[in-house]
Symmetry: C2
Subunit: 305 residues, 2 copies
C-alpha cells in the first residue's frame, strides 16, 4: 500500500505518550509475543482437541480471536480499565483492535481516539502492534451499516509501530507439510504420534504446546522422556531429542549446528559417529548431524542433563 500523501509525522502527543508507556512496559516485546502465542494456543485447545490452525476452529472461536487477545493483553500488561474505551494507557483512553489482515474495524466510539492496532500470522510466526489516532484524515469515509469504518492508506502510514513482524514462538505443526502432519496424527496412541513427530519434524523448535497437541493426554511431558518415552524409543534410530530446559543440551544443539531449543522446547535431530576433529562430544563419543537419508548404524548417545 502506498499513500499519495507524504507521510507527515504529525506530532501527536497522545500517540507518543502511549507508545512510550508501552515501550517501557515491554521493551523487547517478549511479553506481547507470549500473549499472541498463548492466544492462538488457547483457541486451538490442542491438548484436548489436537487442533493447531485457525481453519480448524469453531466459528465462535475464530470470530473472537481479537476479544481473547484484548483480555490477555490487559491481563499480562495490567492496563487500567478505560472509561469509554478498552484501556487507559499513560492516562489516555485507548481502544484495542485486532485483525488477522490489518483491516481493523473502527466503530464510532473510536473516532478521534487512540487505538492499539494488533495483527499476527501464526504461519509466519510474526506479530505486530502499533498506535494511531483515528482522525478524520486517517480513516475511510465509507461506512457500513454498523457505522464502522477502517484506516485509509494515509492512516496506515501514520501508525507508530511498537513492533512490526516481530517473532513469536513458531507453530511447527502449521509449518510442516500437511501430509506429514496427517501422517503424524494418524497414529493411534499419543506415544506413537509423538514418536512420529520427533521422526518427521527434525531440526525445528517443538514447543510444549505442540507436544501436548500431538500427544493429547495429561502427562504428555512424560511421553518425551527416556523412561519408555520417545527418547528411548527413537534412540536406536539415531534420534537425539534435545531439551531447551537444560543448558548443556542447548549447548550441544549449538555445537552440532542444529536449531537451538528455547526453555520448554525440544529439537529432534539424527546423529552419527564422527571423527573427534569434526564431532561434538556426547556420552564419551564424538557425533555429528546425519546427512539427509544417511544410514544409521548406531543408537544415539544418552544426553547429559
Amino acid at each position: 500500500m502506498t499513500s499519495l500523501d507524504a507521510p507527515t509525522p504529525t506530532a501527536d502527543l497522545g500517540v507518543a505518550a502511549v507508545v512510550a508507556e508501552l515501550r517501557s512496559l515491554d521493551p523487547g516485546g517478549s511479553r506481547m509475543a507470549k500473549v499472541f502465542r498463548s492466544t492462538f494456543d488457547q483457541l486451538y485447545d490442542g491438548q484436548r482437541t489436537g487442533r493447531y490452525s485457525l481453519a480448524q476452529l469453531f466459528k465462535t472461536e475464530k470470530t473472537h480471536f481479537g476479544t481473547l487477545l484484548e483480555i490477555n493483553l490487559q491481563r499480562e500488561l495490567k492496563f487500567a480499565d478505560g472509561g469509554v474505551l478498552d484501556f487507559k494507557i499513560a492516562g489516555l483512553e485507548v481502544d484495542c483492535k485486532y485483525s488477522h489482515t490489518g483491516a481493523w474495524m473502527l466503530p464510532l466510539e473510536s473516532f478521534e481516539q487512540l487505538i492499539l492496532v494488533t495483527q499476527a500470522d501464526d504461519q509466519r510466526s510474526v506479530w505486530s502492534a502499533g498506535v494511531v489516532r483515528v482522525t478524520e484524515e486517517n480513516r475511510r469515509t465509507s461506512e457500513n451499516r454498523d457505522k464502522k469504518t477502517g484506516l485509509n492508506a494515509h492512516g496506515r502510514s501514520q501508525i507508530t509501530w511498537l513492533f512490526k513482524d516481530a517473532p513469536m514462538q513458531p507453530n511447527a505443526l502449521l509449518q510442516l507439510p500437511s501430509a506429514t502432519v496427517a501422517e503424524i496424527m494418524s497414529r493411534r496412541s499419543g506415544q506413537a504420534r509423538l514418536n512420529e513427530l520427533f521422526r518427521q519434524a527434525t531440526n525445528r523448535r517443538l514447543s510444549r504446546n505442540i507436544v501436548a497437541t500431538v500427544a493429547q493426554q495429561d502427562d504428555y511431558m512424560k511421553r518425551v522422556r527416556d523412561n519408555g518415552g520417545s527418547r528411548s524409543a527413537l534412540r536406536p534410530e539415531g534420534y537425539l531429542i534435545l531439551g531447551g530446559d537444560y543448558f548443556i543440551q542447548r549447548d550441544i544443539a549449538a555445537a552440532l549446528g542444529a536449531v537451538v531449543p528455547e526453555p520448554g522446547e525440544f529439537v529432534s535431530v539424527q546423529v552419527v559417529p564422527a571423527p573427534p576433529t569434526e564431532g561434538v562430544g556426547i556420552d564419551e563419543e564424538w557425533w555429528r548431524l546425519a546427512e539427509p537419508d544417511e544410514r544409521i548404524d548406531l543408537p544415539a548417545p544418552v544426553l547429559p542433563r
Copy 2:
C-alpha cells in the same frame, strides 16, 4: 414483567426443533451447568489472581463474558458452525446471546431468526437457557444507534426455557460475608489462607477452584491433605475436611447431617465426641457435628478413604 398479551403458545416449528435437539444433547443440564461455572472461573483466573467475582475483573474480561460462554458452549456441545449466525442446531441457524440481567441485545442479523438466550447469576448459583424467535411482535421497536434492540415483554413470555434458574456449582467465596473473605485472603501464605478458609467456610461446598483461588499456587491440592496440609493443621481444632472424591467421606457427611461434597469438592465441619446412639462412627469412635461456639477438647478423627 407481565405481558398484556395472553401468552399464546404460537407453534414455531424452528423453536421446537432446536429445543428438542438441545434437550437431547443435555437432558439434565449438567453439561451446560459446567460450561457456565467454568466460564466464570476462566474469567476470574483465581489460581493466578485470587479473584472470585465479576466486580474484580478487568473491563475487557467483564465485557466479554458472553463471548467466552458462546465459545465454551460450542466446544462442549459441539454445535455446527452457523452460516450467518453463531451455530447450526437441528440444521437451523441459531444466534447465542448472553446477558447477566436478561436484557439480551439483538442485532439486525438476528431479526426473524432463532436465538439461544442465556443468563447466569454466580451469587445465587443459578443459570438459565431458552430459545425464542426474534419476530417483529417479540422485539422492541426502539432501536439504538447500532440498530440493536431487545425482546419486549411479549417476546420474553415466548421464550421456551430449557432450564430456568437451574443450579450450578456454588462459589463459596462470593457467598461468604466480604469481611470473612477479606480475613481469609489477608493471610500471607497459601497454606495459612487455606487453613482460614476451612475454619471460616464451614458446612459449605468448596470447589477445587475455590481452593486454587485461595491458595494461589500450583500444588494447591497438596495443601489440603493430611501430610502437613490443612487436614493435619486443623485436626487439633476439631475440623474434619470431607472430600467428595471418596464415597466413604460423602457417606460420613450425609450421616453427620452436613452438606455433602460432590466429586472434586470439600466440606469442612467441626465435630465433637458423641454417645454411640447419637453419633457417627469414624476412626473407631463416635462423633457428631459441633454446635456453634461449642468447646472443642479433642482433635478430630482421621478420615477413612
